[in-house]
């Protein structure tokens, strides 16, 4: 490295210095500690004792581990695309020249800030098999074919779809980010496209989408990370870490949590956490590969 390189390095480190401290103390150390624990017999309450790969070997043979992984991938595979479509659609609607935009924006954003306990209770009622809002609406529709709507959270086949539906409710958070991205699209681009006779769809496809692609990338990555760790709603709505009914909503983070804090197997849980970490990293890497081809930065 020549002196200019050194100078640039010094400058870079001086800006990122706070993060170097924060990263080391609040992330790196805990992460390394947990990696160490993943190779240990560790109950949290006693010293960690090295057991090599035992936790990982046990995990591979653990049916419920694989089940929780399948459930989680199912959830993420459905919730991330649905959330992206809903939040981007809302942002596009709000980006129109409409009256009362501030009010609509606030309304769409609200569900994402309502305390989770409160919204979970609301959805418990909406999904209720016999007196719930959803089946009150769906009942007559199903009756046309002589059927009855599912019991949602009471039915192993429908509990996961119910939680996916509910997750779209919190789309307001990423909608705000999309909206910020959409407002960043230079108006001149649309104007010149209109001169070329481009329709709405063409403008969306050739201008809007490329310009906001960094935002989509950001939201999708955050969505994957969040969905792979889905915890709170399932915990509140489907019986703590049991994943009722019949483990159909036993997600990865729930199983991890019950191992760590109910069964006091922190070493085992740490191994699970590291596998999750690797899995999320892989998915993010895939998203980044896709992004490298299709995301456009306005440099």
């Amino acid at each position: 490295m020549n002196s200019a390189d050194w100078k640039r390095l010094g400058s870079g480190l001086s800006f990122t210095g706070l993060w170097i401290i924060g990263f080391s103390v609040f992330t790196l150390y805990p992460v390394v500690a947990s990696l160490y624990y993943s190779f240990c017999d560790y109950s949290v309450l006693q010293r960690p004792l090295w057991t090599g790969l035992e936790n990982y070997r046990t995990l591979v043979a653990d049916d419920v581990f694989w089940l929780s992984l399948r459930n989680t991938l199912y959830f993420a595979g459905a919730a991330v695309p649905l959330g992206t479509v809903v939040s981007l659609s809302l942002a596009l609607l709000l980006n129109q020249d409409v009256k009362g935009r501030a009010l609509f924006r606030t309304l769409f954003f609200l569900p994402s800030i309502v305390p989770l306990v409160a919204s979970a209770m609301l959805w418990l009622w909406i999904f209720n098999g016999s007196g719930g809002l959803l089946n009150w609406v769906l009942g007559p529709v199903f009756a046309l074919w002589g059927g009855t709507p599912p019991a949602w959270l009471g039915d192993p086949a429908w509990a996961k779809p119910a939680l996916v539906l509910m997750s779209a409710w919190g789309a307001g958070h990423s909608m705000i980010i999309y909206l910020a991205g959409l407002q960043n699209v230079p108006r001149e681009l649309y104007e010149s496209a209109e001169l070329d006779g481009a329709g709405s769809w063409a403008k969306f496809w050739h201008i809007t989408l490329p310009v906001i692609s960094p935002v989509i990338y950001f939201n999708v990555v955050m969505g994957i990370i969040g969905a792979m760790q889905v915890f709170t709603t399932a915990f509140v709505m489907t019986g703590g870490t049991d994943g009722n009914p019949a483990r159909s909503t036993l997600f990865y983070a729930l199983y991890l949590f019950s191992n760590a804090f109910y069964d006091l197997r922190m070493g085992y849980a740490s191994a699970m956490a590291w596998i999750l970490f690797m899995l999320i990293a892989t998915l993010t890497w895939i998203a980044t590969r896709v992004a490298a081809r299709s995301v456009h930065y306005q440099d």
Binding site: M1, L9, G12, F15, T16, L18, W19, G22, F23, V25, F26, T27, P30, V31, A33, S34, V44, L93, N95, Q96, D97, V98, A102, F104, R105, T106, L107, F108, L110, P111, I113, V114, P115, V117, A118, L122, W169, G172, I176, I177, Q183, N184, P186, Y190, S200, K203, P214, F218, M222, I225, Q229, A253, L256, F257, F261, A269, A273, F277, Y297, Q298
Partner: protein
């Protein structure tokens, strides 16, 4: 986008209204529940407006709960007088006087009960504000500085470090909890508010990522021009980039505020005494009350906790969203 046809405008509004109904419903439900009696809040099928029921007993009006319609006697209902005696009556529905009657008294009662009568709501609010305000300042300032280092400077190891930074977002929280507790214990911070806001002053991957994405949209030529004029990086950061970035700073501030306001796991782990509780943890403590939750009171407390967030968002959203369009390319 201008020049919309009437049909198009109509369908846009239709979709907006449909979306608004769907999305606003939880809040409306929360507020309406907060004004109901406990019986009504648990009743199936649920009703939206808070109602009370009265009957005439011995010439006096008595409030009752409407229990159920009698089997085999259509139109007749069993009611229970709400005086604690459990006296039950059976009478035609028409004799029950039902009025829409919001129970505003749920609010003062919920706030009074939140601290178990020993610690006031004001203490929780004060603690929460300390955590939020100090945290927001730290988060905005530190992440802007850090993100600048990642977005606008080229230095050896930057991309690798940034990749590592991104990776930290993927670390599941349960893994960090126990080692982190050890860190804070060594620092002597357990039982204080420090673990809840000090880390914000040292950056967070999410905000670094967010700000870096936005900083990168500011044309590099602007920085180059300033450099040619002899400006150092800190000057460029303070004088050029930061003023252009108020929207993303607002985003980061709002997100951190929301996070700190609603944060549950942190206070749960690090706060031990009620005097140091934040609103979120006080609310949860309240929710897990013995003998089952009284939903109206819980919803009233929730509404009080949510209200400031809504107000702040409503007023901050202009800076928050509008300004973004004016940054970057037009400078």
């Amino acid at each position: 986008m201008p020049s919309a046809t009437p049909t198009r405008r109509f369908s846009i509004y239709l979709l907006l209204f449909a979306g608004a109904v769907l999305f606003a419903f939880p809040l409306v439900w929360m507020v309406s529940t907060s004004l109901k009696s406990p019986e009504q809040s648990a009743a199936f099928p649920p009703t939206m407006l808070p109602r009370s029921h009265y009957v005439q007993v011995d010439g006096r009006e008595a409030e009752v709960t409407l229990d159920r319609e009698l089997t085999g006697r259509p139109g007749w209902w069993q009611v229970t007088i709400k005086d604690g005696t459990g006296t039950r009556l059976e009478l035609p529905r028409a004799e029950v006087d039902t009025r829409v009657e919001p129970r505003w008294e749920n609010y003062p009662e919920a706030l009074a009960r939140m601290g178990g009568g020993r610690v006031g709501f004001g203490t929780f609010l004060g603690n929460t504000l300390i955590v939020c305000v100090l945290g927001v300042f730290g988060a905005v300032l530190s992440n802007a500085i850090i993100a600048y280092g990642f977005a606008r400077l080229k230095w050896r190891g930057r991309d690798a470090f940034f990749a590592v930074t991104l990776a930290t977002m993927m670390v599941p929280m349960p893994v960090l909890m126990v080692p982190l507790y050890g860190v804070f214990r060594e620092l002597g911070w357990i039982g204080t508010l420090l673990p809840l806001w000090v880390p914000a002053w040292f950056g967070s991957a999410f905000n670094i990522f967010l700000m870096r994405q936005f900083f990168r949209t500011i044309p590099e030529e602007m920085s180059e021009a300033a450099r040619i004029d002899g400006a150092g990086e800190w000057t460029i950061f303070w004088r050029l980039i930061l003023p252009l970035s108020t929207p993303v700073l607002a985003v980061a501030a709002l997100f951190h505020f929301l996070f700190a306001w609603n944060d549950f796991l942190g206070p749960l782990l690090y706060l031990t005494r009620q005097e140091t509780f934040t609103l979120a943890i006080a609310l949860q403590n309240y929710q897990s009350q013995a003998g089952g939750v009284e939903w109206p009171l819980l919803m009233a407390a929730s509404a009080v906790v949510v209200a400031p967030v809504i107000v702040i968002f409503f007023f901050a959203q202009k800076t928050f969203i509008q300004g973004v369009a004016t940054t970057g390319s037009k400078g």
